[in-house]
Amino acid sequence: MEALEMFTSDRNADVYTEELKLNLGPQHPSTHGVLRVELAMDGEIITDSWCDIGYLHRCAEKIGENVTYLQFTPYTDRMDYLASMNNNLAWSLTVEKLLDVEAPERAQWIRALVAELNRIASHLIAFGTYGIDLGANTPFFYAFRERESIMQLLEKISGARMLYNFIRPGGVANDIDDAWMDEVSAFCDDFEKRWVEYNTLLTDNFVFIQRTANIGILTKELALSNGCTGPVLRASGVKWDLRRDVPYLEPYDECEFDIPVGEGTHGTLGDCWDRYWVRMREMIESVRIIRQCIEKIPPGAHMEKSMVKMYKTPLKPPPGEAYVRCENPRGELGFYVVSEGGNSPIRCRTRAPSFCNLSVLDKLLPGTMLGDAVATIGSLDIVLGEVDR
């Protein structure tokens, strides 16, 4: 904000630069979808900004009140379409909590495995598109190469490339076999080498650091007050990860992994570079979890028997409500479901991580430049399908 006062021209002066209202989006290459940000510009400097969302509103919560619990699972795929597995997982856990059932042990390990795979895929997109936002087009293609392998792996077990509908209330749709797990470990070996390549290409690039360090600084207080979660919160120095602090799956309790937090490597804690770097290191932590999952996965059923029976008629959870949150790639996804005993819930509320992370944008932008706005939006890593639902 100091920069704002220093550089913007005095409105009462004789000669000043005209204030320019710039519509960034909804059709703009770097708003990651159909976000619209109205910017008041003084030359290149943003003096004020207003976020406008809702262009992708698909009434998911209303749909949730009109379909059965099981039928809503595919709709969760379409919220954060880059991390469908994690969305399925959160929804399944919510329904299981309503029904008071728990998935079998093997299903939990499979869930953790595919969720972590999908987390890597999602972070790869974040990494690639962030490069594009800053004008480096090449990392995007490298990221997509690795994401393609993940999509092929997940396609083998679920039959779908992006919207899986694989994790369901009571377990997972299909069991996995050893051959598939061998492929996953081969991918992990490959990915760790590629990860080093990404860092030489983008992370340690001087221009990249210049563009991202000390830009869009999100303080710890602001992040907490605005309900930011996930990498955005951790980059501000809060060591909080539901997987470690409130383990919602058994593997997260038993596996060893670190929680990367922002360290302010290039100046300020909570800048764009920190958010980027937290994501990058999370990918490596996910690889660690995947390796341990493959090693420790127990035999057994992949679906709760009682649930299979229940699938024949629509699920009818007893009246009550459940709120479950899961650590998604973009933050904590929560489902708050209220049942009154019918076939479908009477309220199906989604706490979308991108929605909360985006709400901080209006506070980060004033005082930065137009190029920084793009860098900041990119570093929050939003998915508009989730923001608007």
Binding site: D133, V207, R211
Partner: protein, 356 residues
Amino acid sequence: MEALIGLFGELFGLEGTLALSAAYAVCIGSILGFVTVYSMFAIWMERKVAAHIQVRMGPMVTGGWHGWAQSVADAVKLLFKEDIIPTRANAFMFWIAPAVVFCGVFAGLIVVPFAVGVQVVDLHLGVFFIIAIASIEVIGVIIAGWASNSKYSLFGAVREAAQVVSYEIPTATALLVPILVVGSFRLNDFNTWQAEHHWLIFHSPWLAMAALIFFISSLAGCKRAPFDLPEAESELVSGFHTEYSGMRFSFFFLEEYTSMFVAALLTATLWFGGFNLPFVDSSAWHPALAMPIGIVVLLAKTFFFIFVQMWLRWTLPRLRVDQVMSMGYKYLVPWAFVALIATAVWDYYGWGWLPL
């Protein structure tokens, strides 16, 4: 040029003004043809370079061998596309801007010596002329941005104006360094000097520095990444040519690739020996042999630098607008002046550097 006039005189009996006009027409036509063909090739090359840097293949289908006809197909498409003029745009200005932009760079090519005798005008002001005439391009970009009546275009135009005007200073100062050594503006003198002595890049460390400064600031002048602020597509959609379509849009493309060519060619001519081969003295060769070899050598050097420009573009992120400015004013300008003064001192005392 003189050769052409003589040729017309012999073949068609043209004399005086008529022969001069005819010769000019032929020269301009051939340069225009060269620019078009070169741009198509450069665009294809850019795609291939980008693709191979990005672990993919690029165009592979059109035309058969590695999609060589992709640019031709694109050009045909652009020709037949509707030429849209936005309703609220200033139609005349919108219409004239691509032409102004293209003229500036295009005019610079008439003083370029491609080989011994292959040159339209052997102007004694050669280098200065190229720099001067290229600055017209900025006016065209500003007109384009202003006439489009779009805020993104205006942003692009203002960025272009600020950037190119600022980077003209280090560009021109860096160019003065070899000019100081050779003592001439004439591009041909650089070729002969380097044929007689050595390549100027090896003359002294200051000349190498000047070459680096010139290359960096010429990137900014051509609006190439990492200085492609005026058309930064992730910030300004397409910058000053956001509202353009069809043939007019392609003029901006031609301009960009032609100015890349001019910048690379200046680097090759001023510092890297022009059309001279390394270690080979070609001055005694017969013109019929020296000319094609000279053209090939110069184009090879030029395309190497064009390749470097593309390489940088597909590797580096884009700088921010204030960083571009501070880079120009805080680093390039002072160091260009240092190189200039140091070269003057260096040459005054007649020091050598590499054993040449």
